[in-house]
C-alpha cells in the first residue's frame, strides 16, 4: 500500500511559520546575551565597588603609617637642603676668618714682640668678570689658600724663634717661613726686625665659623 503526503497549508504560510520559529530562536539567544550583559554590568559594578571599598579601608587603616612616611620624606628633604646649604657655604665662604687669624697670631706673639705690618690674602677665592681662555689643564680651579705676611720687631733672635714656633703650633697654619731677620735699632736698643710668612689650606673641611661671635676680645698684636 502506498502512502502519499498532502500539504494542506500553502507553501508561503509554511515558510512564514518557519521564519517566525527561527526568529524566535534568535530573539531568545539575543535575550540570553542581554541578560548576560546585564549580569556582567552588575558584576563589574560590584567588583569596582568592592575593590574601592577594600582600598579605602586599607587606606584608612594605613593613614597613620602614610602620615609617618610623609613626615620622614619631609625630614629627608630638609636634611638635603641643609647639606646643600652647608656645602654652598663651604664653597663660597671663608672657613678661616681673617679676624680669627689675627687673633691667633696676636696670641702667639712672645712678650716684647711688636708687629709693624700684617697682610692676609685669600687666594683663588674670588671670581673675575674678565673672560680668560684656558686650556683643559688650566680649566681646573686652583686650590683656595690663605697667605699671610707678618713683619715686626722682636727683642732678639730668641724672640724671633719664639714667634715662628708660636705660629707653627697653630693647627690651621702651614708653611711657616722666616723670610728675613736682621738687626734693628729700636729706641736706642738693639733688636731684630723679622718677616714671617705662612699659609693655610682653605680646601680642607674646617669647622665653620660661628655667626655673630660676641665673645671677641681685642688685643694688640
Amino acid at each position: 500500500m502506498k502512502h502519499r503526503t498532502f500539504h494542506l497549508l500553502p507553501e508561503p504560510i509554511v515558510a512564514r511559520v518557519r521564519t517566525q520559529r527561527a526568529s524566535r530562536r534568535v530573539v531568545g539567544i539575543s535575550a540570553s546575551i542581554a541578560v548576560m550583559t546585564v549580569g556582567l554590568v552588575a558584576f563589574a559594578t560590584w567588583v569596582e565597588a568592592r575593590s574601592r571599598g577594600i582600598l579605602a579601608a586599607a587606606q584608612s587603616e594605613g593613614a597613620p603609617v602614610i602620615a609617618i612616611e610623609e613626615e620622614i620624606e619631609t625630614y629627608r628633604q630638609t636634611e638635603l637642603q641643609l647639606l646643600a646649604a652647608l656645602e654652598r657655604q663651604r664653597t663660597v665662604g671663608n672657613a678661616i676668618p681673617a679676624h680669627g687669624v689675627i687673633k691667633a697670631v696676636a696670641g702667639s706673639l712672645p712678650p716684647g714682640a711688636v708687629v709693624k705690618r700684617l697682610m692676609i690674602r685669600y687666594e683663588n677665592v674670588q671670581g673675575s668678570n674678565k673672560r680668560v681662555r684656558r686650556n683643559a689643564k688650566e680649566a681646573e680651579t686652583p686650590p683656595r689658600m690663605l697667605v699671610c705676611e707678618l713683619e715686626g720687631i722682636a727683642l732678639d733672635d730668641a724672640g724671633v724663634n719664639a714667634i715662628v714656633q708660636g705660629l707653627e703650633r697653630l693647627e690651621s697654619l702651614s708653611k711657616v717661613t722666616l723670610e728675613s731677620s736682621r738687626s734693628y735699632l729700636f729706641r736706642g736698643k738693639s733688636a731684630r726686625e723679622y718677616k714671617v710668612t705662612f699659609s693655610a689650606d682653605l680646601e680642607r673641611r674646617w669647622r665653620l665659623p660661628v655667626v655673630a661671635d660676641a665673645s671677641f676680645e681685642g688685643g694688640n698684636p
Binding site: A22, R50, A58, Q89, T91, T141, W206, R207, P209
Partner: protein, 206 residues
Amino acid sequence: MIRPSGTALGLLGASVTAFGLVVGFLVVPALRRADERALECGRLYARIGKIESARLERDEIRERVESAQASSRAVLRQIPDATDQAALMSMLAVETGSSVLSQTVTAGEPVPATPRSKESLKAVPVTVEITATFDQVMGLLARAENDRRLVRAIRVEMEKATRADNRRDIDWDSPFVRATIELDAIYGASGGSPAVASADAKGDEP
C-alpha cells in the same frame, strides 16, 4: 534556507555589540583596577605591619634634623637675593672719634663669587680704609665676618700708623693702625632658603 527576521537579527547584533562593549569597557578595566587595588592594599598592609619601625625611623631622622638645624643656626650665613648695599654700608660704618681717625668705604662692581664657572652667586667687593685703634679695626673686621649675612674677607692689610711729618717713619707711640680691608658680600641666592643650615656643623674639623 530558513532566514530569521531582520528585527531578530538586529536584536542579536545589538545584544552581541552591547556584550562586547560591556566586556571591553567595563568588566576588563574593572578587573584590572581591582588587581591594582589589591596590589596597593597588599603594599599598604605590608607598610602597616612595619609601623613601629617607621615610627622609630621618623623619630631618629627628626632628632637628627632638629639637631642639625640647631647647630646650623650658629654657623650658616644668609645669602640675600640682592646686593642690599645699604645694610652692608651701615654695618661697616663706624663713627670717627678718639679711637677712629678716618674711614672710607668703597663698593666695587659685582664679580662672580667663585672662579668656578658653574657657581651662580655674585659678590660685591667692598673696600674699607680705616685709621683707628687696633681694637676698632678688629671689631669692624669681626663684625663683618660674624654677620648673619655671608661676608668674606679677601685681603686684610694692617700696619702701624706713621708719623705725620715723615710717612716712612713708624710712630710707635701712636695707638692707631692703618688698615685696608677688602671684603666680599655674597648675594644672588635664588636657589635656596637662607634659613636652612649646615647639618654637619658639629665635629667636622679635619
